[in-house]
C-alpha cells in the first residue's frame, strides 16, 4: 500500500517535470522577462548552515557605502550603534559621527524652533535627502532605493526546477548575488536593444534592459587599508555582503541557533521513533 503510494507520487513528480518543461518553452516570444541574465554565483562567508560574517569584508563594504553609495542611497532602518556589529568599538562609532559632523533634528526648543544637534549612536542613519521628492529631483527623477532591506527585496526568480533544488542546497543568497552581478554587469548594449536616454544597459537589472544608475564603482575608486584588491570585483562583493548584513543583521544568530535546534530535533525524533516502535511492538498494523 505504502509502496504504491510512493510509486504514484514519483510518477506525479515525473509528469510535472515534463509538463513544466514544455510550459517554460512556450515563454519564448512572449513579453520579455527581466533580468535577461541570471545572477552570477559568488561564494559568500554567510552562506550555508554555518554561515558567518567576514567582519573585515563588512567593514570594507561600509567604507564603500560611506564613500560612494551614501551620496544617494539612504539606509533608514539601520542605526549608527549597529556599526558595532561590524567589529567597530563604541568609541570608533562616536568618532565616525564626529568626523563626519553628522547632525539630526533636536527636540523643539523653548521657542518652538527645531535646531540641529550632533547625532548619537542610538540615532538612525541620516538619509542623504530630506525626502523622496528631493531624492528624485537630484537623481533625474529616479528614486535611489533605500539600502536597509534591498538585499532581501531584490531576489530574481530562480525558476523551475532550481527553486526545488534550492530547498536542499539552502541557497538563500540570490539577493547579494544579484547586487554583485548588477554592479559588475554594466556593458555596451547589444545592437537592436533600445536604451532610453539617461539610463544604462545592464542585462542583470531586474526590471528592464537599463537602469537610471550609471556604473557606480570602478577599479581603484576606494582605498582599502587592509591590502584587499582595489578592484570593481572586490568592491562589488564587499558592498553586497554589507547590504546583506544591513538587511538581515540577525543572520548569524539565526543560523547558529538553528543548528542547535536541528540537533535537538534530530535526537528527539530518534528517541520518539524508538519509543513509538517499542509501544507498537505488540500490535500488528
Amino acid at each position: 500500500m505504502m509502496k504504491s503510494l510512493i510509486r504514484n507520487t514519483l510518477g506525479v513528480i515525473a509528469i510535472c517535470f515534463i509538463g513544466f518543461g514544455s510550459a517554460q518553452a512556450s515563454e519564448e516570444g512572449a513579453t520579455p522577462h527581466y533580468p535577461i541574465e541570471h545572477p552570477k554565483h559568488v561564494h559568500w562567508s554567510f552562506a550555508g548552515p554555518f554561515g558567518h560574517w567576514d567582519l573585515a569584508q563588512l567593514q570594507r563594504g561600509f567604507k564603500i557605502y560611506h564613500e560612494v553609495c551614501s551620496a544617494c542611497h539612504a539606509m533608514k532602518l539601520v542605526a549608527y550603534r549597529n556599526l558595532q556589529e561590524l567589529g567597530f568599538s563604541e568609541a570608533q562609532v562616536k568618532a565616525y559621527i564626529a568626523e563626519n559632523e553628522i547632525e539630526v533634528d533636536a527636540e523643539p526648543n523653548e521657542d518652538g524652533e527645531v535646531e540641529k544637534r550632533a547625532a548619537k549612536p542610538s540615532d538612525l542613519f541620516v538619509p542623504p535627502f530630506e525626502n523622496d521628492e528631493a531624492a528624485k529631483a537630484n537623481n533625474n527623477g529616479a528614486l535611489p532605493p533605500d539600502f536597509s532591506l534591498l538585499a532581501k527585496a531584490r531576489a530574481p526568480e530562480r525558476g523551475f526546477p532550481n527553486f526545488v533544488f534550492d530547498v536542499f542546497t539552502m541557497y538563500a543568497e540570490n539577493g547579494p548575488d544579484y547586487i554583485y552581478s548588477l554592479l559588475t554587469g554594466y556593458q555596451e548594449a547589444p545592437a537592436g536593444v533600445k536604451v532610453e536616454d539617461g539610463t544604462h544597459y545592464n542585462p542583470y537589472f531586474i526590471a528592464g534592459p537599463a537602469l537610471a544608475m550609471a556604473a557606480p564603482l570602478s577599479d581603484g575608486q576606494v582605498t582599502y587599508d587592509d591590502g584587499s584588491p582595489e578592484t570593481l570585483d572586490q568592491y562589488s562583493k564587499d558592498i553586497s555582503a554589507f547590504m546583506m548584513w544591513a538587511a538581515e543583521p540577525k543572520l548569524v544568530e539565526r543560523k547558529s541557533l538553528g543548528f542547535k535546534v536541528m540537533i535537538f530535533l534530530l535526537v528527539f525524533a530518534g528517541l520518539m521513533y524508538f519509543t513509538k516502535k517499542k509501544i507498537w511492538s505488540d500490535v500488528k498494523h
Binding site: A79, R81, L271, T275, K278
Partner: protein
C-alpha cells in the same frame, strides 16, 4: 505498563524517561524566547543615557529631564535648603539608606545630605528620579511639610534632600547613576 516492567528498570523504561526528559528540556528551552521578547529591545537600551547642560539653572531653580522615559529632577539647591537638610539627624529619617549609586567614601550608603547630593563641592546639585517610591506618581516640587517634594497621590512628604519623612512611601527618592562630564554638563545613565 505491566507489572513485570515495574520491578526493575529496563531498557524500555530508560527509553521512555529519556524521551520524556528530551521533551521537557525542549519545552523549557522554548519558553525563554517567549519571556525574553518582552524585555526592552536594543533600541530602547541604546537610549539609556541622557546628557543635560545645567549651566542655565540658577540656585533655587529645577529642571525636569527625561531619562529612560522617567522624569529626573535636577535642582540647584539654595544655601538654606542645604542647611536644612544637613540639620536633620539620621535617627529621624524613615529610610537611612542613601539610595545613591554614585556616593563615594566612608559611610556612602547612609542618607546624610552629602550622600544624597552630587558630592563634595557640588552639594548644591540634587539629581533624583522623580518617581514616588510608594506607587510611582510624580511628586510636586517645593511643597509638603518639609519644603522638599510632596506626592499628591497618597500624601508622601520628602525633604530638601529628597528623603522620605512622612507618608506611605518606604524609600528616599532614588538617585540615578550620573556623572559630570564637564563642569556644566551631566550624563545621566
Amino acid at each position: 505498563m505491566s507489572a513485570k516492567a515495574s520491578k526493575e528498570p529496563t531498557r524500555r523504561d530508560f527509553l521512555y524517561i529519556a524521551t520524556g526528559a528530551a521533551g521537557a528540556v525542549g519545552t523549557v528551552a522554548l519558553a525563554w524566547p517567549f519571556i525574553d521578547q518582552m524585555n526592552p529591545d536594543a533600541s530602547t537600551l541604546a537610549l539609556s543615557t541622557t546628557e543635560v547642560d545645567i549651566s542655565s539653572i540658577e540656585p533655587g531653580q529645577s529642571v525636569v529631564v527625561k531619562w529612560r522615559g522617567k522624569p529626573v529632577f535636577i535642582r540647584n539647591r539654595t544655601e538654606k535648603e542645604i542647611e536644612e537638610a544637613k540639620q536633620v539627624p539620621l535617627e529621624e529619617l524613615k529610610d537611612r539608606a542613601a539610595r545613591n549609586p554614585n556616593a563615594q567614601g566612608e559611610e556612602a550608603d547612609t542618607a546624610i545630605d552629602l550622600n544624597r547630593s552630587a558630592g563634595k563641592d557640588k552639594e548644591n546639585w540634587l539629581v533624583m528620579v522623580g518617581v514616588c517610591t510608594h506607587l510611582g506618581c510624580i511628586p510636586v516640587g517645593q511643597s509638603g511639610d518639609f519644603g522638599g517634594w510632596f506626592c499628591p497621590c497618597h500624601g508622601s512628604h520628602y525633604d530638601t534632600a529628597g528623603r522620605i519623612r512622612k507618608g506611605p512611601a518606604p524609600e528616599n527618592l532614588a538617585v540615578p547613576p550620573f556623572k559630570f562630564v564637564k563642569d556644566n554638563v551631566i550624563l545621566i545613565g
